[in-house]
């Protein structure tokens, strides 16, 4: 997947979790938590959804990599390159 595709997937997953959140105008470098109403349970949902869709296992120690949209894409790019 390309960086843009990964970004779209993340936004789609977040929109499912936070239905009222404004995902269009997110600042990619700022923590998602500061821009949307996300808690630690929501990040768990992102992890579980990525596993379901792409068989991708994200160990607990790597959860901080999902903090911002940009860090998500950086983290996922090499892991989803063959998808």
């Amino acid at each position: 997947m390309t960086r843009d595709e990964i970004k779209d997937v993340i936004l789609e997953i977040i929109q499912d979790i936070d239905e009222d959140g404004e995902v269009e105008n997110l600042n990619a470098d700022e923590p998602l938590r500061d821009q949307l109403d996300l808690d630690s349970m929501d990040f768990l949902d992102i992890v579980m959804e990525l596993r379901k869709r792409y068989q991708l296992q994200i160990p607990e120690g790597d959860y901080p990599e999902l903090a911002s949209l940009a860090s998500c894409v950086n983290y996922l790019e090499p892991r989803l390159k063959d998808v």
Binding site: I17, M41, L44, D45, V47, M48, R51, K52, Q55, Q57
Partner: protein, 468 residues
């Protein structure tokens, strides 16, 4: 009835969930939703565990529907469905009445702040500082500070303030001044922050809606089916023996108590010496007593509040609250709005209690003590509803023995274990591949919201294992 007998279940599933408390139900639902084949077994004839109800003479009594935090709204939408979320309604009239103060509150941060500053004359800065400090607490913070130290830091010598802030939490999860401040902070910030909520339609309606969702997601449900043993071979789960039948599964999630899971279902022999060492300090939480009062058809009650924290004890005292003759109890009043269309009133008195006090009683003493407890509860309730005795046509009591019988939990614990239990619950899997525990543990993972959220966390662990 969607439920099967275990004889009709298949020979093999991806995962067996043992127990249908809110934790077990949620894990089963999440795993089925993620595409796994799930068998859910429950020893009782009804699902829900402590989230349950019973019917007598036209009355419907709820056991654990006294109130839950605002967070349930989002949790139910995400992990169950929108219809369940839409049935959540706020309880606006919470009352405290004890020798130190009598107040009425909406149970949210704004109202508590105003009560603490105006009524208790605490300076605003300390109140804000307290709310900010507890809101910032998390699982990874310092665990050595006790709740007593936390209160002394912010409100030194203010027994009345300590009581206001502690009493509801003691009823909600059995914790007290001696438990870690972080468990207090995490629960307080969820619970005494944005109001108290209930489920319109009652517990029966909630469980019915959850069962519909489980069915939609393809979970096989067997009631009257008691898991006897989790079969473990060379450090891996192989399946479960249920009423004499072996069901094969590589993954088992137990919603039985954590100690029941280790001692009765898996067996201590399945664990390393190091792990067994970690179990030693695990303490189960206290149990409960309840008195159920059914109001005669056609009678009505005035609105005296939804949830009444009452006590005639001079100060907050954890031992007093656990005593068989405690003078501290909550009254939940269920008006017809609880079950729209069912035009009845009920009252449930709840007390904290110690299993050992009740377990030892010979039958006759046991019956007498139950009668005395009913009487004490009526005397207390007469302060708010003077003619309660004339209006009541059903009175019944439950004790720690009752809770033990229905849930099988060690010492009939109402709220799982103290803090140490969480680590044990989270690490079962290190010793036995494919074995997980879900359900009230560690104070923070108890209550309806805690149990459901923990169900989601454990479903994620189990899903990771199943896909590895």
């Amino acid at each position: 009835m969607p439920y099967k007998s275990i004889a009709k279940a298949a020979a093999k599933y991806d995962v067996v969930v043992i127990g249908s408390g809110l934790g077990g139900l949620t894990t089963a639902n999440r795993l089925a939703n993620a595409g796994h084949r799930v068998l859910l077994v429950e020893h009782h004839h009804r699902l829900g565990g402590l989230a349950t109800w019973f019917k007598r003479k036209g009355h419907i009594f709820d056991i654990s529907l006294h109130g839950f935090p605002h967070g349930m709204i989002k949790t139910c939408r995400k992990y169950w469905n929108r219809a369940i979320m839409d049935s959540i309604v706020q309880l606006n009239n919470i009352v405290f009445d004890n020798p130190q103060f009598t107040i009425r509150t909406t149970f949210d941060k704004e109202d508590f702040t105003s009560i603490l500053t105006n009524r208790f004359k605490v300076d605003r800065a300390s109140v804000d500082d307290f709310f900010n400090t507890v809101a910032g607490m998390n699982f990874y913070d310092d665990r050595t500070m006790t709740t007593r130290e936390l209160f002394e830091q912010f409100f030194p010598g203010r027994g009345d303030v300590h009581r206001l802030l502690m009493e509801p939490i003691s009823y909600a999860n059995g914790s007290n001044f001696n438990d870690p401040a972080i468990t207090y902070g995490i629960v307080f910030s969820n619970f005494m922050n944005k109001g108290v909520f209930t489920f319109s339609g009652g517990t029966d309606k909630l469980i019915e809606m959850m069962v519909e969702e489980l069915e939609k997601n393809g979970v096989t449900i067997c009631t009257n089916s008691r898991a006897e043993r989790i079969v473990i071979d060379r450090g891996r789960v192989r399946g479960v023996e249920i009423d004499g039948r072996f069901i094969e599964a590589a993954c088992v999630v137990s919603n039985a108590g954590i100690l029941n899971t280790i001692d009765d279902l898996a067996g201590r022999a399945s664990f390393s010496a190091e792990f067994l060492e970690k179990i030693k300090p695990v303490q189960v939480n206290n149990s409960s007593c309840q008195v159920y009062m059914g109001i005669r058809e056609g009678e009505r009650l005035d609105d005296v509040g939804d949830l009444l924290f009452t006590s005639t004890a001079p100060a907050y005292d954890v031992d007093e609250m656990l005593d068989m003759e405690t003078r501290s109890r909550t009254f939940s009043l269920y008006y017809p709005k609880t079950r729209p269309g069912h035009d009845r009133y009920t009252v449930v008195a709840s007390m904290n209690a110690r299993y050992d006090d009740w377990a030892a009683l010979p039958e006759e003493r046991y019956r007498e003590e139950k009668e005395k407890m009913i009487e004490r509860s009526l005397v207390d309730l007469e302060r708010y509803i003077p003619d309660i005795r004339q209006k009541c046509d059903w009175l019944e009591a439950a004790t720690p023995r009752t809770f033990q019988r229905y849930t099988l939990h060690t010492k009939g614990t109402s709220f799982g274990t103290k803090f140490e239990g969480l680590e044990v619950s989270r690490t079962l899997f290190n010793d036995v591949k494919g074995l997980f525990h879900v359900g009230s543990v560690g104070i923070i993972m108890s209550g309806w919201l805690g149990a459901i959220n923990y169900g989601v966390i454990v479903a994620n662990d189990a899903d990771a294992y199943l896909r590895s």
